[in-house]
């Protein structure tokens, strides 16, 4: 690891200031991606700003018909939270399936979505539930947040503070995990709300995406059979040693059907 200056601000304002005055500053939430990246010398930030000491970023609460999860909520906290389990059980189950127990004890929702790994689980829930990402500057709709491979709408100096999830009638997340890393080879988050049905897919493409044809079919009939013949094109999907683009395209339908079955059941 290259050397860097370390800062541990105790407020959001201090964090923004430290980030603003750093030559090439990097925010650290749980560090589950950043620290391995630094260890491999794949990044060389001048300053690391640790968000672990900021109380404003912690906590999970119900706010009317929404569930608001602080950016620094650890995956294990989300998985075991009674508030999450009663409001959106699918979100608790998603969190319980990330990585391994030690990663879940450190990794955070804010870090996960700001990093925007194409195979991360949380982006599927954020888009699948039509959540709102709150930052120190503004509120960003889920559909506008993820821009591409490791790319988000976050601007320089912008810090994710919380994610607000509208509470759905039904929802479920199903993934086909990489057996070593537990990242999603393909994961599908399906949610039925008063406003309609949303289907968001992670792992398959460079960034999370929705499948409009499935959403329309499920709005008419919320059953696994309603989408059994709906396929996504393999063009542009991810391909690696674990799965070809064609296989991932096939898995999108399989995982979406399983998610509908789980949500409907």
């Amino acid at each position: 690891m290259y050397d860097f200056s370390y800062h541990k601000p105790s407020s959001l304002a201090e964090a923004a200031k430290a980030l603003g005055s750093a030559e090439d500053g990097k925010l650290m939430a749980g560090g589950m991606t950043l620290i391995p990246t630094l260890k491999q010398r794949l990044a060389r930030p001048s300053d690391v700003i640790d968000l672990g000491g900021i109380v404003e970023l912690k906590g999970i609460r119900r706010a009317g018909n929404a569930l608001v999860i602080g950016a620094m909520a650890r995956h294990a906290e989300v998985a075991h939270s009674d508030v999450v389990r009663s409001a959106i059980p699918a979100l608790a189950e998603l969190a319980e399936g990330i990585g391994d127990p030690q990663v879940r004890n450190r990794g955070t929702i804010g870090g996960s979505i700001a990093n925007a790994d194409p195979a991360a689980d949380y982006p599927a829930a954020v888009v699948g539930l039509g959540a709102t990402v709150e930052t120190n500057k503004r509120k960003i709709a889920a559909d506008d947040f993820f821009k591409g491979l490791f790319e988000t709408a976050l601007e320089d100096g912008e810090i994710v503070t919380a994610v607000s999830f509208p509470i759905p009638e039904k929802a479920a997340y199903m993934k086909f995990p990489n057996p070593a890393s537990r990242y999603a080879i393909v994961g599908a988050f399906v949610a039925k709300t008063g406003g309609g049905v949303r289907v968001a897919v992670t792992g398959a493409g460079p960034s999370v995406f929705r499948v409009a044809a499935m959403e329309q079919a499920l709005a008419k009939s919320f059953t696994p059979d309603a989408i059994k013949d709906i396929k996504v094109a393999a063009d542009g999907l991810n391909a690696d040693i674990h799965a070809s683009a064609e296989y991932r395209a096939h898995l999108v339908t399989v995982m979406a059907r399983r998610a509908v079955a789980a949500a409907a059941g």
Binding site: F4, M32, P36, A76, R106
Partner: protein
């Protein structure tokens, strides 16, 4: 720039001067001489470096020493209290190891599991060990040891 760090390790207050990039595992091994915590993969996957920080299991190769400022850290050396910890005794009794390299991490992870789930099933144990890799045993005796260790820990708290 080096800075000072203070924490409680195995019940004792310790301090040291570290660089920000010093990992918690390096601080434990190289500054404090607590070499029971191992570095297996260095890529955050194998779990040989698992310790407890403020009561939860973490990979000490994926945490900076400065992040543990003020924390309570427990390593494998901090478990035995007079005799072996029941989980250590169970690994000994059921031969939950061959080379032993992964064992400290396995035991620290297992104790965290039992804190959440005092009577884990074989399936739950295997799922919990997602982040701990053993290249010798095929896990069979590790799972057996954890089952027995959990039972012994339940007995010890009654």
């Amino acid at each position: 720039m080096p800075s000072s760090v203070r924490m409680t390790v195995n019940g004792k207050a310790v301090s040291g001067t570290v660089e920000p990039r010093t990992l918690l595992v390096q601080f434990l091994r190289e500054h404090l001489g607590l070499t029971g915590t191992h570095v297996g993969c260095d890529t955050s996957q194998c779990g040989a470096c698992v310790v407890h920080v403020d009561g939860v299991s973490v990979k000490s190769c994926t945490m900076l020493a400065v992040q543990a400022e003020g924390a309570k850290v427990t390593t494998i050396e901090g478990l035995a209290n007079g005799g072996l910890h029941p989980m250590q005794a169970a690994f000994h009794e059921h031969h939950g190891l061959q080379c032993g390299f992964c064992t400290p991490g396995m035991i620290m992870s297992a104790i965290d599991l039992v804190k959440h789930n005092s009577d884990p099933s074989e399936q739950e144990i295997r799922e919990w060990l997602e982040g701990n890799i053993c290249r010798c045993t095929g896990y069979h005796n590790i799972v057996k040891s954890i089952k027995a260790g959990a039972a012994a820990m339940r007995g010890a708290t009654k």
